[in-house]
Symmetry: C2
Subunit: 434 residues, 2 copies
């Protein structure tokens, strides 16, 4: 008789839990716990010097005052909005729509926004909604954020990689991948990518590439998931518009998180899904379909978390960019320090050669080293040099170590950067000579 008897075997469970993808997070967390005194260039955390629990109270109160004004001082209604079950698509959609207009020039109907438990839930919901049969496929730029490939597995959507280039994506390869999939009987649905300061490469796409990508989406009848958590972390230079701002035919589902710009601990992100969907005689939106899925997944996103986000938006004229001036400056300072430290340790012409890129913002840079840098090298780096980083192969999902590592600089103090650079260059020099 077949059945389920504890102890269960991992092979009797959902295939994801036994996969390498599922172990990445475990491995990286576990090594951080084993070497608590190591300086971490691994964690993709936001800068938290200016966080405080008082701010949580302040933002909630700001939002409560806003609700009170909106509903003429009806305390019971305000209390219910904040503490009872609420609208599946969220309660701060109107404020997010104003932010998108102010910060990104994206003009959307608030009704097309779904407030989610971080961007992660948004990515899952979009993939799950689009996944009709086993023939459906998604594409993604590789190396990629492991949360995407994990969400695709959870949604049972096959995910096909397309190589990253200096400009963000190899468009010729994308066309080929779509044609190959279609020729094999698959239905190409969607491409997932970061347009600005991509995780893990730090790379951004040019305007020309964005326009061409939209043309390809049009030609090939696919949607694009533009996941854009890092775009505000840059200087005062003119920014390249998002795909969503350039999108004139509802090709782009825009996904974003407040984890990097408010607090991760609020767990609030959102999707803009303004694609019309015909349901019998009615026209709904893709956002409405995401909400149907969300109602049986997490019901709604904690209104208390949404209140914190709303308070910060209200405090800063709906510009999350203005609200993060100090944090952005700290990240840019860290990036400058990191690059200066590398230039000092590895002047041009040094043998063996060590190179790195210049993302101009965001949370990450990629360091090219003259040795393969996998999990064993990370372990040695942590143990002997007291410094953590992320082997690039974790973003390829194939377990094959490469001579490249991702350095995250977003969350470190100047002193940590200085000391961390000393440790990191020590490790790289030792490994390069071995």
């Amino acid at each position: 008789m077949t059945g389920i008897v504890p102890p269960l075997a991992v092979d009797d469970l959902c295939s994801f839990v036994g996969s390498a993808d599922a172990d990445v997070m475990n491995f990286l967390n576990e090594i951080a716990l084993r070497f608590p005194d190591a300086i971490s260039f691994a964690a993709g955390r936001p800068y938290d010097e200016f966080f405080s629990t008082d701010l949580v109270h302040h933002y909630v109160d700001t939002y409560v005052a806003h609700l009170m004004r909106q509903c003429g001082g009806d305390e019971v209604r305000v209390r219910r909005t904040l503490l009872q079950y609420g609208r599946t698509k969220g309660i701060i959609h109107d404020l997010i729509a104003r932010m998108l207009l102010v910060d990104e020039g994206i003009d959307v109907d608030p009704e097309s926004i779904v407030v989610t438990v971080g961007a992660q839930e948004a990515i899952y919901l979009v993939l799950r909604a689009l996944r009709r049969t086993a023939d459906d496929v998604a594409f993604y730029v590789r190396p990629a954020y492991v949360g995407f490939t994990g969400a695709a597995r959870l949604a049972d959507m096959r995910a096909i990689p397309v190589p990253s280039t200096a400009d963000g994506i190899d468009l010729a390869e994308l066309r080929t991948a779509i044609h190959t999939a279609r020729a094999a009987g698959a239905r190409p649905c969607v491409l997932y990518l970061n347009t600005d300061f991509a995780n893990p490469t730090g790379l951004s796409m040019s305007l020309a590439t964005r326009r061409e990508l939209l043309r390809i989406a049009e030609d090939e009848q696919i949607l694009l998931i533009e996941d854009n958590p890092y775009s505000l972390f840059t200087g005062d230079q003119e920014r390249v518009p998002t795909l969503k701002a350039l999108d004139t035919s509802c090709r782009v589902v825009y996904v974003c998180s407040f984890a990097k710009t408010v607090f991760p601990g609020a767990r609030v992100g959102f999707a803009v899904a303004d694609q019309p969907v015909t349901v019998g005689a009615r026209t709904e939106s893709l956002a409405d379909q995401l909400a149907k899925l969300k109602s049986v997944l997490t019901v709604n996103t904690a209104p208390i978390g949404q209140a914190v986000i709303a308070g910060k938006l209200l405090d800063h004229g709906f510009s999350i960019r203005a609200a993060n001036k100090r944090e952005v400056d700290a990240c840019l300072r860290n990036l400058r320090m990191l690059r200066a430290g590398l230039a000092e340790a590895f002047p041009e012409g040094t043998t063996p050669e060590v190179t790195w890129n210049d993302p101009g913002g965001g949370f990450f840079i990629v360091l090219n080293v003259p040795f393969v840098a996998g999990d064993e090298e990370l372990e040695r780096s942590a143990r002997d040099h007291g410094v953590l980083w992320t082997p690039i192969h974790h973003f390829h999902g194939d377990g094959r170590a490469r001579p490249r590592i991702r350095l995250s600089f977003s969350h470190l103090s100047p002193a940590e950067i200085t000391e961390g650079m000393k440790r990191l260059t020590g490790f790289v020099k030792e490994s390069g000579q071995a």
Copy 2:
């Protein structure tokens, strides 16, 4: 060429979004919006007279003070616990374990607890983790909470109903359903049920039935998901132990929510999944597997929401039952008023006959009426009588109207119950004579 071009058709998307299950919530919400002045016996909301935003602040501060004591006043660490990314399985697992011991006599390792975005995410995670192939099936007691059947669809797990009886579940039918499924090549995995004051019937299982159910789970090699949100809403009589308290062989995954006992707006629930899982040479727990899935679904449950729950637990010696004395008393008062109102309007022997059950607690009772009570009747009730309730067929998922309705009494004031009963009995009398 096959592709995805807006406007999308609902038939091109995940089958759930075009299903009747997905429309239930929409329909019920929409009718409530169209008749805002109707008194609602439909919403399964907790009693909120004692909610306040000040309480949110107070509970967060209580938890922050607790963390400060725990880590010797390290403010940076406390701030990071509350506001940064955190442990996937949650940060208040130790406090929840103490609550389970105090309130339910359930003694579990805190490491086997996963804090989730309400019980809803917990149900999805368990189903998704157990779902290996298309042959896997779950069973559930019908009529059932629509969130279960929705989550099963999302997890692509086939769900087979077993009839409810006065004692909660027809155990002979359960055995038959398991044998039939297995004979057809399926792998029976799990049974989902509410043991106390079930949604929608209000029914509770006797101790003998609980013991027999555990024996069946043992014999038939299935797990049980015990979803237990309402058990504390009862009087001072001795309570029947939960399945989890009786479970000696890790057969039961216990799922619960703080939505009914703290605030829905915190969006915090949890699963206890202490089943050992062998992963190569290691032994992990089912909770660890749920955490792997959660890390690519919602990353972690908002620490800010968890802080609110923790504060209430800390304030009341880890007894959420003690903490809800006022709310429980209000619900029991409402139940008494509702039953008294029905007895007055429909004395025994009245023709046509109207009957109802006596759950002794919880949020719901079932009213048997002498006419089929479907969506059209609900519409008429809302329009002509100003009163809302839930047609029982929404919990059967087959669209076939029946002469039964679910009445929720948890969230109403005494004045609303009195006025609501007048309207409801008017509607029932008119419909019974038609």
